[in-house]
């Protein structure tokens, strides 16, 4: 009675049925464009993702939520919701250039000058120019407003000095959007400006940070007299905090960000691995039963994430504020991602200690999930204070 869709993704939602014309169209295109699985090596993995981005972009399958005037299809959030489910079901490479596509692009559309839009939006969409985000600093991890990177306008250039950290895939990026202090002596949220900084210049040094997984997904970015053209300001000078808040809204509002469908597809692999491990004696009966229970709990929790993402899409479609849903999805996603990573490895028992395996890697890499996009602790603070009205 249940279809494969139901088995993998769960019950359908009224507005995004599994036979929706959009799904049918995208499935047909994906069936005609098979793609290899992702390699383990990080550099190869990034190239693989970038190539796939370009393939999709070349066929109009990237940035569907962007307005038609900027090269998108102007689809509504519910269609975007289906989009992410379908590309995940087809086991395509993970999205790349999301800092440009999800964050800076839409922020530019809201706050950017016509010149900046014309200059940067096409490259983001096509994947010809890659982007990274320069917000966090060594001494302002969870407390963004305490940032100290400063920029000074000298002639027709901003001269930027400071240090960013936790910048995802900076080593592959062409541009970094940098939040910095442009008003000497300003404090907290005031006097900040959001600049677009070219990465390939003498004043910018990228030092990748080695993670426990062996990856270098995050970098420190040292800005030593880095130069930014005077007009490459997103929004107004001194109004960087407002631009950043707009940008965060997009981060939290993107229904693909907390990728439930990829998780559900991975969980299917995980269930397969468990069947193999139990059959060949790698796992005892007791341990396999335990792993099965864990996987079932994960399926349930991913359904929860999926329902939050759906709610987010429904609210976005209705033009409503997404902040609330965003903090919840971030929290739910981060904790879930870790447990999913562990469950992957657990499904194969001792084998997943050995390097060079996807499950080994996934377990280690997933430990960052509840930290790098705002720690779970910060999310809980936000939920308690802003959404539940508990006193500071």
């Amino acid at each position: 009675m249940t279809s494969l869709d139901h088995q993998v993704l769960g019950p359908a939602f009224a507005q995004t049925p599994y036979d929706h014309p959009f799904r049918v169209e995208l499935r047909a295109w994906l069936a005609e464009h098979p793609v290899d699985p992702e390699p383990l090596d990080q550099d190869a993995r990034f190239r693989h993702r970038r190539d796939w981005h370009r393939t999709m972009a070349g066929n109009g399958w990237v940035g569907l939520h962007w307005p038609v005037e900027h090269g998108g299809r102007g689809v509504d959030p519910l269609t975007q919701f289906m989009y992410y489910e379908e590309v995940a079901l087809a086991a395509t490479p993970e999205p790349v250039n999301t800092p440009g596509l999800i964050l800076l692009g839409p922020t530019l559309m809201a706050h950017g000058s016509a010149e900046l839009k014309a200059r940067f939006l096409p490259g983001i969409l096509s994947g010809d120019e890659m982007w990274c985000q320069g917000f966090s600093e060594p001494d302002s991890g969870s407390d963004l407003a305490s940032l100290r990177t400063r920029a000074e306008l000298v002639g027709d250039e901003w001269i930027v000095n400071g240090q960013k950290i936790w910048t995802t895939f900076a080593q592959y990026a062409d541009y970094c959007f940098v939040l910095c202090r442009t008003e000497a002596g300003s404090e907290r949220h005031r006097g900040l400006t959001l600049l677009i900084c070219p990465v390939d210049q003498d004043g910018v040094t990228v030092r990748p940070i080695r993670q426990i997984s062996g990856d270098n997904e995050f970098s420190e970015v040292f800005l030593d007299d880095a130069r930014v053209p005077k007009d490459w300001v997103v929004g107004e000078v001194g109004q960087g905090w407002s631009a950043a808040m707009t940008l965060f809204q997009f981060e939290r509002g993107d229904q693909g960000y907390t990728d439930h469908a990829r998780m559900l597809v991975h969980l299917l692999d995980c269930e397969d691995a468990l069947r193999v491990a139990e059959a060949d004696g790698t796992l005892t009966v007791d341990r396999a039963a335990d792993a099965r229970r864990v996987q079932r709990d994960l399926w349930v929790r991913i359904q929860e994430l999926r329902h939050l993402n759906y709610r987010g899409a429904v609210l976005a479609k209705a033009g409503q504020e997404l902040g609330a849903v965003g903090s919840m999805t971030n929290l739910v996603w981060g904790e879930l991602e870790k447990d999913l990573g562990s469950a992957f490895a657990e499904a194969s028992g001792a084998r997943s200690l050995v390097l060079g395996r996807h499950d080994t890697h996934a377990r280690l890499a997933s430990r960052a999930a509840s930290i790098y996009s705002g720690t779970s602790e910060i999310q809980r603070n936000i939920i308690a204070e802003r959404l539940l009205g508990l006193p500071k």
Binding site: M1, T2, S3, H6, Q7, G10, P11, A12, F13, A14, R296, W299, V300, Q303, E304, H307, L308, Y310, R311, V314, L315, A318, A324, V325, M328, L331, V332, E377, Q379, R380, N381, I383, A384, E385, L387, L388, G389, L390, P391, K392
Partner: protein
Amino acid sequence: MITEPLTTADELEIRDVVVDFTRTTFTSERVRAAALTPRGYDEVAWKQMVDLGWTGLGIAEDVGGAGLGAIVQCLVHRELGARLAPTPFLGSAGFGAAALDVLVDDDEAAHGLLAAVVDGTVQCALALGHGRGWPGHESPSITAQPVDDGWTVTGSAALVLDAARADVVLVVAALEEGGWRLFQVAASALTPTPVPLLTVDVTRTYADLLFDHTPATPIGASSVTSDRVSLLVDRIAVYLAAEMVGVAIACTNQTLDYLRTRHQFGKPLGSFQALKHRCADVAVAVTVAQELVFSAATLIEADDVTSLALAAPLALARAGEVMLHATQEAIQLHGGVGFTDEVDIGLYYKRALGDLELIASPVDAYARMDLVRTGKTS
């Protein structure tokens, strides 16, 4: 909770009316007082609810209902749960009406009974003959036998919701030739007469029912399959889950109010970060459980039985777990008064304990979900 799954203007308007009535009607004092009355529920309030048409909100218009569908029905269950309203709404207008709707096609008898449930002349209760949860491979606990002049039913059902004072018991009984059929048994035909069970939850009445070749009238012309009975359980599971989120939301909100106002060590309790984080976890869990429940309600409305078969046990299991956790956290976060009868938090906890046994425990609901997901249902 943090999100409200009701979105249309109509739904929000009905919600406000329902909330207004339940807040003013089901005060703590009246709820506690009603528990001590002979019938065990608030008869005045129940009559008002019938007069306001609540018993027909989710029932089709051609039998006298308002035909507003499962989302509105769930909204009412939620808000009654939030106030621990002592009424037979869940057993009669929820479970009973659902059985008449799901198990009987186009039958005058069903329509007559449905109309009587809607207009309040009959209060019914539902006894499931396969036992608790969804029908599986166990032997049925209630069977039907044809006799000269009609039918009798035989068997038992434990802790049947709202059955102690029902006028009619609807019985889903197994037929000898296989399949199931819905019967009605007049309360007066039951021997011994069911007695209200004293349980932890004083806001609700239960009874053990015994059938021993008890005269029963079939409703509907033909038998139904186990799948159809499963669909009925799906339906009532969603109703119950809606009540569960109501319980969870209400006791969480009361706890948040307490934490905002009560001071210790010179600060409001709610400013202590450890308590904040626990509130955040509860609130997120309740919010998400509510999304699962109302999403399942939309599947009832869309008549998507394939998706509902997954969504209903998922919603019931998760709403049950979350409700239990929320009520337990509410006691703990209230500190000393939390475990006394002086605040209502304990009543919510005890309602939670009862609700968890009504259809299927979370463990059993998850097992059902797994069977559906892997296509292994009977």
